[in-house]
């Protein structure tokens, strides 16, 4: 049950020097005699010494660990970002601790508290709420390095990496309108979530731009999970004057819509046109393939990691608010309404 625990003390004893000298030899700071340094190195190698990172952390006040708090690690979008973060951070000797908020502000708050007491060096966050963010503001105020991804929070002084949700959605709606659609359904997740708000804004703005009044009954709400999205889709399309097209705000909702429509015997794009926000593997496996608003997902994680590492190295530059453009990938799920 006991760890073996070869400590600096052991190494020092083996090399016949004091702990201080051994530390100097291994971390190469201060003055150490060449011959002594060699002897210590050798002893350390021979004993298989590895510094206890917890002890180091106690002194420095920080563990070389970065926390990642996504809404849901099972969402491929976040899984991809987690992977990219991990790769970048590892290069700098940091590890990544992943703790999902499960889109609960309460859980997010608890997690952050608990992880702070763990001495994590910084955080990459996708805040569960666009408004209730005092805990994040506090984090930033306390000087804990922090990068927001996917979702931006106002009034918090920290870096953020997100995409142009509003523009991306507008482009998609424009495309639907250009194809003759005027009754366009909108399937979104909890309005608490930042991206949902911005994407809704893009939807409303685009419609307004075309002189189409927003019909609130065409906007369906569901949790971001396939099963819930199925139900919401069915509700939306059960009405007599159903929409001729549908826009979904993330890939899980798109999947739900796909299944919901299929269960109702509605064909894409013959009966309903569909565009989803966020590209996903599955979109090219369906028949027809799904037209989507793609995010530059491969850039988000590495950039967030780099921003965070700069902060960890003490950068006090003003917060950077990065916004990537999106790209409409036209496949086969849109046609003119019947």
């Amino acid at each position: 049950m006991k760890q073996k625990g070869i400590t600096l003390k052991d190494v020092a004893a083996a090399a016949n020097v004091s702990r201080a000298t051994a530390a100097r030899a291994l971390s190469s700071y201060g003055y150490v005699g060449d011959e002594t340094a060699l002897r210590v190195q050798e002893a350390a190698d021979r004993l298989g010494y590895r510094a206890n990172r917890v002890a180091q952390a106690l002194r420095s006040g920080q563990l070389p660990i970065v926390g990642f708090v996504p809404g849901d690690i099972q969402n491929p979008f976040f899984a991809r970002i987690a992977h990219d973060l991990e790769v970048e951070l590892r290069k700098q000797g940091h590890n990544l601790l992943i703790a999902s908020s499960e889109e609960s502000v309460k859980q997010e708050k608890e997690l952050l508290e608990s992880l702070r007491s763990l001495g994590l060096r910084g955080f990459v966050l996708a805040p569960a709420s666009a408004t209730d963010n005092r805990h994040i503001a506090k984090l930033a105020r306390d000087g804990v390095p922090c990068v927001l991804i996917d979702r931006v929070v106002k009034d918090v002084r920290c870096d953020s990496v997100a995409v142009d949700n509003e523009g991306g959605t507008r482009e998609a709606i424009d495309y639907l309108v250009a194809n003759g659609h005027r009754r366009i359904g909108f399937l979104r997740d909890d309005s608490r979530i930042f991206t949902a708000q911005e994407r809704l804004g893009g939807y409303q703005g685009a419609l307004a731009g075309h002189g189409i009044s927003v019909d609130e009954t065409l906007i369906a709400v569901s949790r971001s999970a396939v099963e819930h999205a199925i139900d919401a889709t069915i509700r939306l399309f059960s009405r007599r004057d159903r929409p001729s097209a549908l826009f979904t705000v993330d890939s899980l909702m798109t999947q739900g819509a796909l299944l919901g429509l299929r269960s109702m015997g509605l064909h894409i794009p013959h009966d309903v046109s569909l565009i989803g926000f966020d590209d996903f593997n599955l979109a090219t496996f369906t028949d027809p393939q799904i037209t989507v608003v793609a995010q530059p997902i491969s850039e988000i994680g590495p950039l967030a990691a780099r921003l965070l590492l700069e902060r960890l190295q003490g950068s006090a530059a003003p917060p950077q608010q990065i916004r990537f453009p999106t790209r409409l990938i036209v496949r086969g799920s849109v046609s003119r309404p019947r």
Copy 2:
């Protein structure tokens, strides 16, 4: 940049007691006067005291963090398990640190060393190799609690949770043979990986059981990634006497096969029948839907977490080797050969 850091010392000062007494009051051990305990509690609350978990870890030698080392966090199978592990561990006040081995034994080795020096309390591993496992054996020998998932390693004394790879594969091959197939392709990932070996064994065993000799040229190897699987599929089906059916060893390979076959203009199940190991969302979105060997994925993570927690609580019971049965889910991707 500095953490605020309200320490036990501050609380003790505020409550006019020694650090020792404050500690007793807060962790409720030893004797403390009722009135004193209350005063300390109050002071702690007022100051917003949170114990420094790094300092606790230094004393106890262990951080309340469990490491999860999957092959690839982007694989939905592992993402799901990560989620389930996290939920279970959080209940016991532990956090989960995820570090992908990216199917590299070298990286796995380095990660484990680095995470051990971090004082992690235990590990959940999906070993990258079925054979080269001295580092894992050492871990187990040193008494570090350890649970293997998905992949079992011989000669290592630790718990494991896996599925009946051989039986599941055999059932699928039997089903294909029952449908009249005799030339059945097999698309597998690196033979180093445990599950690949067992699934190959199931394939060979099933064929032998039906008196069909194994044609090595029908066995294709690719890395477990969609793009690589596409190429391997195309190679396999470019030959004149191509197989009439294909079995793929995981969901990423199945996706690759799907795309590869489509790019060649081969239709499922008309031209080729297909069964994949591991169920995945996408399988029900294709037309036809894909017949798969499903694993009880919702049980693996929670069980692994429970086994690990028992070890953390000091259980010295003999290692448990759990094997879940698989289930063949018949959908529409298999028909009789032309």
